[in-house]
Structure formats: C-alpha cells, structure tokens
C-alpha cells in the first residue's frame, strides 16, 4: 500500500465520525495551543529584551564597578548599586587607562546623584529620585528619546526623565506635555551641593537647634525637563556629568584651625569674647574625586570582543557586567518559564493523547468487520497497523495545525493589545508575539508524533485481529 493511500483512507475514516473526530482534535488543539502560546510568549519576551538591549547598543557595552562582588545585579547602565567607596576606586586615571585599552572605543563615567526624592513643580507628589549622570558626548550609548531632546555636553539644570517618572506624575500618555516643566530634586538638608545658594554661614551662636533646623529644610534643586527617555530602564532619569559633578560636590563651612590658632595666639589675653565661629571658611569637597565614580561604562568596537575586555578588567579586580551576563541571568528565568510552559502544555497534550487512544480503540471495535474485509482483500497485518497508526497521527497533525491557526489568530489580537501597551510604556517594539518557523514545524511535528504514538496500541490491536473472527464480528 502506498503512502498517499494510507493518508487518503485514514482521512476518509476520520471524516466518517465527524463529531468524535472533532472532539478528539479539540483536545489536541488545546494542548498544542498551550504549548505554542506559552513558548512563543517566552520566546517573544526574550526577543523584546534583546531588541531593547540592541537598540541602545548594549551588546557592545561593558559596565565596570569598583567591587567584583557587584556584578550582574543592577542592570547594565547603572551607577552601581553600592557605595562607591567600597572596592577599587574608579577615578579619572582609571578611566583613561580603560580608554587606552584595545577594543575600547569610548568610555563614560557614571554617577548617581544623592537626591532623596523628587517632584514635579506644582505637584505635591514625591517620588524616589533615581538620577544618573553620564558623559553625554562620550559616545558610549544614546539614551533613546521618546519626546523632547537628549542632553547636551555642559547642560546644567537639565534632566531627561524616564517613563516611570512620567507615569508617577500622570503624564504617561502625553510625554510631550512634560517637556519644559521643572523637576525638583529634593536633597537632604545636611548636604549642600555646589549649586544654587550657598549654605548659610553658621551664626556666632550656632547651637544644636540651629543645625537641626538646617538639616530639616531639604534643599530644592530645579531641573528643566528637556526630554523623555524611552529606554527599558524606565525608572532611570539622566543628567549631564558636568552638572552631576557640581551636585556631587559638597560645600560646607569648616573651622579654619590654622587661622584660629594664629588669632588666638595674637589675641592672647586681650579679647576674651573671642569666638571660634569667626574662623569658619567655605570648603568645597568634590565627592567624585574623593570616592570615585559609581561605575564606568565602556563601549567596545565589536560584540565579539566584549567578553575578552570584560575578562581582562575582571582580572584587575573590578566588577564587570555585560549584556551577555544580564541576558544569561534573564535566560535562566526564561528557561524556567519555558520549562513550566512546556510542562503545562505537555500535560494537556498527554490528556489529548489519551483522547486519541480512546478514539482509536473505539474505532477498532467499530471497524472490526472492516478490518476483516481488508484482510480478506489482501491487507497484511502491517497494512492494518499502519492504517490505524496513520489515522491517529493524522488526528495529531490536524490538531496541531488547527491549534497553530487558532494561536496565530490569538497572537494577532494579542499583538494589537501588546502594541498599545508598548506604546503606552514606550517600548520600542512591534509584533510582540512571533512564531518562529521551528516552533510552527516543531509543534505540528510534535502533535503528529503524539498522535502516532497514541495510535500504536490501538493499531496493534487492530492488526492482530484474526481475520476469520473479525469477519464474523457483529
């Protein structure tokens, strides 16, 4: 018997019991759909992530932090999530050293600004301030801009905000409206950056109460919103390194011990009302110079050199993270999700397989006489066995195909919805759910295989029937 004849006869037999065939197929459809949808979601989510990383050129970036036990955790474009004073200090000398390394085409230091919170001018709502300064013209990465424009070298009191910030202040749907408004960074009262009014000089009679009042009044620093970033680090806000350096420079009044000593010696015994406070001087302390940058982000000439450069720097005792590391972390999660999806899909397909076995066993009973006739007409046992196996495989195949079609329809709908969400969340993604060809072929092949396996036992039963008995069967 020829291959095509098997298919034709199997198809003919299946269409004889339409209701039962359809019900059996529905079970397979559900099984294959759960496999397809879940796997394609996992694949698509990963693809979106990779696309986002690619859109900012993340696969050519290496993020260096001072301490080697700080890898992987805080995203790629990060100022490091620990105290920069821990581990090795990342200063300008190191920056230059990194810049001179082979394959490194650019580097930018990154610092996070010590603002406690921030609010939009005219609103009372406060949000956690995640403000990062970077060298805008270093050419390491471009913050994807959703509205307004990016930062420029030397920009002072200008900020590019992330979409989380927009959402907090109710501008999620209208990023353009927020451009030109002022964001107010609230700094701890105790700290006074080299920006805005100088700290009040402590009066002669400054006591504890005076200091307390000072620290209770948070410093407000205005920043004009020039742009909205559409990147995946939605909680991140950006300022230029130039301004960040100012903000990270602390200004305070200090005793001038030398001057005091001198004055005391000169005035010994003369003026008993002499007060220490008169010898305070204004001191500026560049905290970046003191403690180093939060991190340094390097741009590598080619993705294939990223690992090598990363390894080299790691050997020097720094913490290194790359998009690969991050992807590896995320891949682990996706692998688990994928496995879970597979298990759920697998269970439904297992149930579907039982349905196929049931249907096919019933068919062997119903068609016992027909089997007898086929045997009388010259069908070998093998022919009968194949015929039933093919029929079961065809059930699996049809279930897989229908499942694929339904999933495709659902994905189309899902893509429209996901597209809307993506726009709202300003993700640079379209066609969220995709079906790679291997998934399509794989699922259909898989359901067909399941059908085939499920058909083995019923087919074996059918084949071993004694033709004489089968012909006599009522």
């Amino acid at each position: 018997m020829k291959f095509l004849d098997y298919i034709k006869i199997a198809y003919k037999n299946l269409t004889r019991q339409k209701a039962r065939t359809i019900l059996t197929i529905i079970a397979i459809v559900i099984g294959s759909m759960s496999v397809i949808i879940m796997l394609s979601l996992v694949i698509s989510a990963k693809r979106v992530l990779v696309a986002q990383l690619e859109s900012i050129g993340a696969f050519t970036l290496v993020t260096v932090t001072g301490s080697s036990d700080m890898q992987g955790g805080g995203g790629l474009i990060t100022a490091g999530n620990g105290d920069p004073s821990e581990g090795k200090k990342l200063d300008d000398a190191i920056l230059d050293e990194f810049k001179s390394k082979d394959h490194v085409v650019a580097a930018t230091p990154v610092v996070s600004v010590w603002a406690k919170s921030m609010k939009l001018e005219g609103q009372d709502k406060k949000t956690w301030a995640n403000v990062m300064g970077y060298e805008v013209d270093a050419g390491v990465f471009d913050i994807p801009i959703l509205a307004g424009q990016g930062l420029k070298k030397g920009n002072m009191d200008k900020i590019v905000v992330g979409t989380d910030t927009l959402r907090t202040f109710g501008y999620a749907d209208k990023p353009n409206d927020v451009i030109g408004k002022n964001m107010i960074l609230l700094l701890d009262g105790g700290s006074s950056p080299d920006w805005g009014p100088l700290p009040q000089k402590p009066p002669q009679n400054a006591d504890k109460d005076w200091w307390d009042t000072q620290s209770k009044n948070p410093k407000e620093i205005k920043a004009e919103i020039v742009g909205v970033s559409g990147g995946m680090e939605a909680s991140q806000n950006y300022i230029s390194m130039d301004w960040a350096r100012k903000l990270q420079t602390q200004v305070r009044w200090e005793y001038d011990n030398e001057a005091q000593k001198k004055a005391q010696e000169e005035n010994k015994g003369k003026d008993q009302k002499f007060n220490n406070m008169s010898f305070q001087v204004l001191v500026k302390e560049d905290m970046i110079k003191e403690k180093g940058y939060g991190s340094i982000i390097l741009k590598i000439d080619n993705t294939k050199n990223v690992v090598a450069v990363g390894e080299e720097i790691k050997k020097q005792g720094y913490g290194v993270s790359t998009a690969e590391d991050m992807l590896e972390e995320v891949s682990k999660i996706f692998t688990v999700l994928g496995l879970l999806a597979g298990v759920i899909g697998g269970i439904s397909l297992f149930v579907a397989a039982i349905g196929i076995i049931n249907t096919m066993i019933m068919a062997t009973y119903e068609r016992t006489r027909e089997i007898g006739v086929m045997r009388a007409c010259g069908a070998r046992r093998k022919t009968v066995r194949r015929l039933f196996t093919f029929e079961a495989a065809l059930l699996g195949f049809m279930g897989g195909c229908v499942g694929l079609l339904v999933s495709y329809g659902l994905a189309k709908i899902g893509n429209v919805i996901a597209g809307k969400i993506a726009v709202a969340q300003s993700l640079p993604v379209s066609g969220f759910i995709i079906f790679p060809i291997w998934l399509i072929l794989g699922v259909v092949a898989f359901t067909t295989l399941i059908g085939l396996l499920a058909g083995l036992y019923p087919a074996h039963r059918a084949a071993r029937l004694d033709p004489v008995e089968a012909l006599r069967y009522e």
Partner: protein
Amino acid sequence: MIELKQVTKTYKMGEEIVYALNNVTLQIKEGEFVAVMGPSGSGKSTLANIVGGLDKPDAGQIIVSGQDLSKTNDNFLSDYRNKTIGFVFQTFNLQPGFTALENVMLPLIFSKKAAGERKQKAIECLEAVGLGDRMRHKPNQLSGGQRQRVSVARALSNDPQIIIADEPTGNLDTQKGQEIIALLKKLNKERGITLIVITHDSNVAKQADRVVLIQDGRIK
C-alpha cells in the same frame, strides 16, 4: 487445482473440542464450479476459509497451484488472498464510507497498483457486473442486489483464480439471488475462474458442476 489432503481443523468450545473439519480430502479442478452444502455448523465456512487462506488447518495440507498453504506465513497468505482469491460474502461487507468504485479498488490498493491503473480496472469490473452507472454511489445508496454486485466486482478486481462465495444469496430475494448466481456462473464460464459457492439453497447448488456435501466436518 485445489487439493485438501486430510485437513483437520478444530475449535474449542468451552471444554469441548469441536471438529470443524475432520480429515477432509477434496480436489477441486481449475475452472470448476463447486457448490458446498451442509447444515449450519457443518464446517462449510471453515472449508471456505482454509481454501481462501483466511485460516490454516491444524493438520493436513491445502495445496493450491502446487503451493502448500499450511506451511506459509501471514504475509504470504495476505498476498495469496489479494491476488489469487476473490471473496463474496453473505452480508456484502462493503466499506460504508467508500463509493462503489473505491470499494472495488480496495484490493488493488493493497496490491500497490498505480492509481490510474487501479481506477481503470475497477471501472471494468463494475461494468462487468452491470454497475457502470453506479460507480459514485455509496453502499447505502444501493439496493441489496447492487451491493452484492459491487462485492462481486471487488472479488474480480485482481483477476483471481478462485472466487469463494459464502452464502452469496443469503441476504437477497430469490430473483436477485438468481441474478448473482448467474453473474458468478458467467464469470466462471467466460473467465475460467474456479468458483466455490457455499449455500443452503438447493436451487443454487443445482447449477453447480458438482455439489460437495459436508456434515460434522466430514465430506459425505
């Protein structure tokens, strides 16, 4: 030439052993029309099954065209049934989902004939039984007589040497039954096909070249 030499076939019915065929020796010549008669349970059908290669004897030999069927395997017997034998059953045994044409093509599918050849052959066979105009009909659209003609056409499709008809008139009225017997007889005479008809009907038996009577598994 069909030769049964001391063929014995037993069945177990509970504890009891029943002799369906008990030491049967019989010869049927090529092109002969033999009617096999006997009461129910006498072993007529077992004889037909053994000659038709559906069953094997427990003892003795069944030799068809020089080949001892009792010494062959299932695949051989399948091919033997396919190429050498045509079966006609009392209950027609047509595949319900198939058209008349497809039913007739079934043995040709098993013999791996090319699709075109198959169809041509099946049409010829249907025309030979007078159903050239009913090829696209399914069994439930045909009368009993027409159905039996389809099964005769199916039996003919592989140009068999032997046609075994087990009560071919059993489900038909006298007139339709006679038509079928006439058709089989015509094929027997014109094509030289050996015809073995198992029947209760003495009117049918009358028309045969020879009547074999069987009782309790023995030929009388």
